[in-house]
Symmetry: C2
């Protein structure tokens, strides 16, 4: 009587092991700056709670399996502003972006099928792949050049007769990478040449900096049968606690199949759907202020990192993450040391070890991810603490440094 | 580029095909009594909306992957009243009972593993089994004797080296069957003898009639490593639109594995969890009135059915479903005829065809399921319409009758 191999094969978030340590030092009075999590600190727009606070439901009944049409109608208008012309019937509402991705994997892949995906990757993709018996094949990208995609030939060399799809996150978590038009077209060309689906996870669509244009495979009419957009309101509207995600595709045959999974799990929260519909009524100017704030924070992080000896990274162009190489041999050891053995002006920082973001955990051992989702004054102080921490670590543990 | 076989292998709710027909006749002015759905008409207790209406969240953040402790604490007190002594750490909150079952299947079975389950069964089990590449093996039970379980030997004959678990619904949907102590102990004995998990879906726990005692595998200490309770607030508190389910087990190794699936999908709706915690604060007297109402409705349905020529069934002891054999060759044909070709005093009824509730669709062709979730006056009229419908069908279509 054992648990299944597919679930035993799943990992746990690398950060879990640090939390007991963090709790211990916090009890002893040390302040901890959390640069590890992707939970935005931006206020959830009031429309959500205003709607929820005013709801009067006599019988809280099942919503439609494909999602409430009021929410799908509002979402369509939002997507149109990005040049993504999807009709309500091309859209399924899911229990968060996570369920959107899970249903997409189940629908596209048989057990043993393969999916190509740029590495480093969102760590949960690995767990989802294990749970659904799918094999992830990494397209390796690198910190030094801002995680640029390799050329078409390099990607095509990874295609086998089990390859069913290419999965991208755009903008990327953990990379902060925004794919260029040329890169999206490389993916397009590979998908068309080898008859692959493109799963494009676009939960950070709004977070694109430096005046870059956000480009989606959904913009290409020739990909209408290939492209599946996975989306979520969590990051966009700082509403992670409402479980509202989306699957968008014009491939009607596939959507018919995915709808069966929606019928299987009956419905998505009626209350969350009502609240979410209000969020989509916000104008695009809502994002201006937020984007300005994140742009500013990104500068703070970048300026600080670039002044640290031996730190290698390139200013990311999207999302709210920054992945860098540290001049240490093992980032996990350094992160642990920062928690337990170091403080500067009574504080320390918690970082994400990057090996969690690679398919093979021996990759990315000297890398970390920082999320800039804390307010400016804290962020500035956190970067100071990190700079001092690195200096002290090199002095006290030269054997652990490069 | 095809959808996966596991999703292509899933069926769609049999009822879907009737809805366009129903819409058409409703437009023409025919009244339709819905005896097909399990959406209770009982008012959702006010505590849920009161809590939700008063919520003030500045940032709607992710809830804990295993569920909010406030909800788990309240739920523990509820389970204790049923003699089910589970601690908060033996409990995971899920996106409805559906996710609870999905995660349980994924965690217990490798692709190709088998699960024994009494037939007729909740039709969604079939779809979940396909989605998770699990094979369901039916333990056949029959309308005539109220869906009594066969003896231990008959069940054991179905066990193979791929069998991982026995899945029961207690009280049963679509059967309304409440398992007796002897039946639960038969299941216990088989599980212990063959090292099987017992998955027990108890979403209708409150709906037990005739003073019968509700008995769960969770009551047996010797099953603490075997038993996994799947639960949901949907039917209990008439709160289907809130997606709150539960997995309870004292098997710590297995729960550790299932928790990874919870981490993978991040969280369950914060708002729904807050509302649900209020529901669990209701005293057990809340159910008295509801139980009295359903008991009364069950009598109305039973009395009416027993007076219809050729109808075979036994008064169910639980849930709010009644499955009967009709004196027709094909219940699907009869259901369709009732919608399109029949009316009595301007009305007709919609029934569920029972072949959806069997693993092999050729089984149960002359059976239907009635859900008594409409108010008394409507229910009485609906039963009159059904009686007249059967009479007319036998007269007009003797070739389609038995």
């Amino acid at each position: 009587m054992e648990a299944s191999r597919r679930v035993q094969g799943m990992g746990e978030p690398a950060l879990l092991k640090y939390y007991p340590l963090v709790d211990k030092v916090k009890e002893l009075g040390k302040k901890v700056y959390y640069l590890n999590i992707g939970q935005p600190d931006i206020k959830t727009p009031e429309g959500f709670m205003r709607k929820v606070n005013a709801m009067k439901e006599n019988v809280l009944a099942y919503a439609a399996p494909e999602g409430e049409s009021s929410l799908r109608d509002e979402a369509c208008k939002y997507y149109e502003r990005y040049g993504l012309y999807y009709k309500p019937e091309d859209m399924l509402i899911t229990n968060g972006g996570s369920e959107a991705l899970l249903f997409t994997l189940l629908s596209v892949c048989n057990p043993g099928d393969e999916i190509l995906t740029p590495e480093p990757l969102y760590s949960i993709y690995k767990e989802m792949a294990s749970a659904t018996s799918v094999k992830l094949v990494g397209i390796m990208t690198h910190t030094e050049d801002g995680f640029a995609l390799p050329d078409r030939k390099t990607i095509e060399a990874l295609v086998t007769d089990r390859t069913k799809a290419i999965l991208i996150t755009n903008p990327g978590n953990p990379t902060g990478k925004v794919f260029t038009k040329a890169e999206i077209e490389t993916i397009r060309d590979v998908a068309l040449a080898h008859d692959l689906f493109i799963m494009t996870d676009e939960v950070y669509r709004e977070f694109v900096y430096d005046g870059l244009r956000y480009i989606s495979p959904g913009h290409y009419p020739e990909l209408s049968g290939h492209c599946i957009i996975v989306d979520s309101i969590s990051k966009r509207y700082s509403a992670c606690g409402a479980r509202i995600g989306f699957i968008l595709s014009k491939n009607k045959t596939l959507m018919h199949e995915i709808r069966k999974l929606c019928q299987m799990r009956l419905a998505v929260s009626s209350v969350d759907q009502a609240g979410a519909a209000e969020l989509f009524k916000l104008g695009m100017d809502f994002f201006d202020e937020i984007l300005a704030e994140y742009t500013h924070r990104r500068e703070i992080v970048n300026d600080a990192l670039m002044q640290m000896d031996g730190v290698v990274g390139k200013k990311p162009t999207g999302a709210f993450y920054y992945m860098v190489k540290l001049p240490v041999k093992d980032a996990c050891d350094f992160i642990e040391w920062m928690i337990t053995d170091f403080e500067y002006e009574g504080a320390t920082v918690l970082l994400s070890p990057a090996n969690d973001f690679y398919i093979h955990p021996e990759d990315g051992r000297d890398e970390v991810r920082l999320a800039y989702v804390i307010k400016e004054s804290d962020l500035k102080q956190a970067m100071k603490v990190l700079a001092e921490g690195l200096k002290t670590y090199r002095k006290e543990h030269p054997e652990a440094c490069k």
